[in-house]
């Protein structure tokens, strides 16, 4: 899932200005593979555990001394305007900050925030996408 040019991104009560895009990736953390007695080909596969990781690219145009701290847990809210390809939508998930780094090139600086999404009981995907009227 990729969100291009969201209208607003919140992390708890903080509004992250200048977010250019957010990529949400799902990766199998425990991939189960099973071979039977019939031959060499795989006969069973499942993902027993997976992880949802979001990366946020935030353009910075001035000196910034603050920022999220790894380990912080907050609700993330990403709003998309009606003018986007998918219409007015809101993406929500709870997430822990994994890392915060910066890519600086010339006069341009981009903060890259890596988040790990968490689910309440683990039985539902942590990312919820809803239409906003």
């Amino acid at each position: 899932m990729v969100v291009m040019r969201p209208s607003e991104v919140r992390f708890g009560s903080d509004v992250w200005e200048g977010v250019e895009r957010v990529a949400i990736d799902r990766t199998g953390a425990r991939v189960i593979r099973g071979w039977g007695a019939g031959g060499p080909a795989l006969v069973f596969a499942d993902v027993g555990s997976y992880q949802v990781r979001a990366q946020v690219w935030q353009a910075l145009d001035r000196t910034t001394l603050g920022g999220p701290i790894p380990g912080e847990l907050e609700g993330v809210r990403i709003d998309l305007d009606a003018g986007t390809d998918v219409g007015r939508r809101r993406v929500r998930f709870d997430a822990v900050v994994e890392s915060v780094s910066h890519e600086v090139s010339g006069s341009r600086a981009v903060r890259v925030i890596s988040l790990i999404a968490v689910s309440g009981a683990g039985d539902e995907d942590p990312v919820q996408v809803a239409s906003v009227s």
């Binding site: 189960i32 007695a37 069973f44 993902v47 039985d123």
Partner: protein
């Protein structure tokens, strides 16, 4: 299809049979006398047959997986008698008992409910 006593215990998921080490049983004199300075070994008959089944039970829900697991564990209890074990290719071992069932870890709750395991069978001279 693999069978034990005519019951398909492992068919819900992938599984494979392994015949464990066979041949004579060597025992060291040091082990039986308790004297570590004593050299040498002697043959004490042959090893008992051991066959392991390693695989994964698969079900659509938690309850169904427990039904499968309980059915297998019941065969591993000391009150359960011997029977014929048959692998997926028709190889049979007569008069074997299920010795143990061991889960490889917690239940995996992905697209389906599944549990990795090892079940050990063998001829036990009692």
């Amino acid at each position: 299809m693999s069978l034990f006593k005519g019951i398909d215990l492992f068919g819900s998921g992938p599984h494979r049979f392994t015949v464990e080490r066979q041949g004579r049983r060597l025992v060291s004199y040091a082990a039986i006398t308790g004297d570590p300075s004593l050299p040498g070994t002697f043959t004490s008959g042959d090893r008992e047959l051991r066959v392991t089944v390693t695989g994964r039970l698969v079900d659509d829900d938690e309850a169904g997986l427990w039904v499968q697991r309980d059915a297998i564990v019941a065969q591993a209890m000391s009150t359960s008698g011997a029977g014929t074990l048959t692998d997926d290719h028709g190889r049979t071992w007569a008069d074997v008992k299920m010795i143990s069932f061991e889960a490889h870890g917690p239940t995996d709750r992905g697209r389906v409910f599944s549990l990795g395991y090892t079940a050990e069978f063998g001829v036990i001279s009692e």
